[in-house]
Symmetry: C2
Subunit: 333 residues, 2 copies
């Protein structure tokens, strides 16, 4: 019988379908070129060495010599850095000037790589660079929320294939983040606990949805995962902001994320995916009840009208089976 | 300069991007077969005449002779009709048995049609059939919310091309609908008005975002539209439930929806789209402050990691320009 499950932190419901359920192996992506099959250098790629636009550069590592990682301003930014944040609320029209940051982190000089193919140190370096940029942007009083995200592959919405990740610094707190914050606060008020700490201890005890774990982090498919192989990577230490993660933690996370993404790459044949670092609003840290984490969402199914109309999802992969499948994947392969 | 706009009813923010903005003409879909280019009858199509599975049939119009429209049980339903609705809330696990309805409305015996190509009467008949089914399902005390939706085309998540629409009757009220209901109630408490009535009167006065209107309905691109050509079709009469729409209203709506969908078909060359009828929860009608409507969302851009992480969207089409473009499209063409 199908089952509806609710995520206790986000309050979102999902339908776990039985009639249309698929086995984990059925999500292995069809034959098509893998990331590693691309050329190492692509002449027309704006992120490949030789095509750098120095006026867009924000930072590079190392500072001299050939770069390993660069952060650049998005050439077609969604928001504009210069300008005043001005609210105009007139009747039914609510508007704020589009000030903010839109930066691109070029993860590697190589055109044909991705976190699953990079070394753990490279993935950690990316996280460190995000922390540096995030801390800098957090100094700007106009900015209220930073979204860190990766689009890997066409179905995940990427337009350039060279490995990169992005951040957008927003002059507002998005409604869905406000709603999650309120739910977390209510849970804390009712129980005296952080809801994600509670969820994490439960997942570790049950273990059937855990994909991998490390000293400081645990990767699992949530009990009410919205889509197949939807993974949360939670820090074991309660902390609301990614920007307060320690260097040790980020080194450890880089290793674990690489491991998990490699399990997807090997086990599902380089599926398209998004990942997002979910961190507290900058001026509303919710220190006691918010808990930062990373969400990884493979794009192996499509959402349609039902999802649009309900905000719910129909998941055709049982979380417990998907996690067992991924645990077995030998990421060293 | 980019602009952030907030939808006063849903409280969702959208970024209207300037650097990456596109003119309406740039959304015209590339050359590919149109719906009307398909064969009228497809032997392998389970919805084509001759392939009916009588055991799945729920209703047909007319009842005798060749059918014009059929409602059938989804062969691979997301939810199961038989069974008790049972909640099991244990610690961090919240579960409800997956009871509910999942029906498919086959709009036409013709394989190569869609609302834009059908007659207004056919579209109205579809709405009437939904109302009949919705009223019947609403009698089942286990059901709390009905989602009516259409997936037109691959990017809108359809798996069968034969023109059809679906409904899912849920044993819960989805979180996002709860949230919208609360926002609407708060607006009513603060102002004494239905927020959508307010929005509608404003759109009619400004007129620049109106796409088309009829005696009982107005179709417009909301001020804070989340994506290009995102259209709301609102009844002028305040009413929270689609199931209370009159026969006159549904006849009028069928005509207007056909007109709007035809503008998209002609103007953007048969884009993929979803539409959804948004109606009040069955046991929480919010008679004073909820207002039913139809959302039409062409799938001409992709959502990616930013949308996943923020719940916000980046719209690359200015609502005022898109509406002006659609107003000009001659749907009789």
């Amino acid at each position: 019988m199908p089952e509806l499950r609710q995520n206790i932190a986000t309050k979102e419901w999902v339908i776990l379908a039985t009639e249309r359920a698929r086995r984990p192996e059925e999500f292995v992506q069809p034959q098509r070129p893998l990331t590693e099959d691309r050329p190492e250098l692509e002449e027309s790629c704006p992120f490949c060495p030789g095509n750098e636009e120095p006026e867009l550069e924000v930072m590079r590592i190392p500072e001299r010599g050939p770069w390993q990682l660069r952060v650049v301003h998005n050439k077609y930014p969604a928001l504009q850095i210069e300008g005043e944040r001005m609210r105009t609320f007139e009747g039914v029209h609510r508007q704020i000037t589009g000030v903010g940051y839109h930066e691109v982190l070029v993860e590697s000089p190589l055109h044909n790589t991705c976190p699953a193919l990079e070394s753990a140190i490279e993935v950690s370096l990316m996280l460190e660079a995000f922390k540096i940029r995030g801390r800098e942007i957090a100094q700007d009083p106009r900015i209220e929320q930073i979204i860190y995200f990766k689009n890997h592959g066409d179905r995940a919405g990427t337009s350039l294939v060279h490995p990169h990740t992005q951040l957008i610094g927003l002059p507002i707190v998005p409604y869905s983040i406000r709603a999650r914050t309120e739910e977390a606060r209510r849970y804390f008020d009712d129980t005296g606990r952080c809801v994600l700490c509670h969820m994490l201890s439960d997942e570790l005890q049950e273990y059937q949805r855990v994909v991998a774990k490390s000293k400081y982090f645990v990767a699992f498919i949530p009990y009410a995962a919205l889509s197949p192989f939807h993974i949360w990577v939670l820090p074991r230490r309660h902390e609301s902001s990614f920007l307060n993660a320690s260097a040790h933690e980020l080194a450890d996370l880089g290793n674990l994320m690489r491991q998990v993404l490699r399990k997807l790459y090997v086990g599902l044949r380089d599926p398209d995916y998004n990942y997002v670092i979910r961190s507290a609003p900058l001026h509303d840290l919710g220190t006691e009840y918010l808990h930062w984490y990373v969400t990884i969402v493979p794009r192996v199914t499509r959402s349609a009208g039902f999802e649009l109309g309900s905000g719910m999802f129909i998941n055709v992969a049982w979380p417990e089976m998907s996690a067992a499948f991924l645990r077995e994947v030998d990421e060293a392969a």
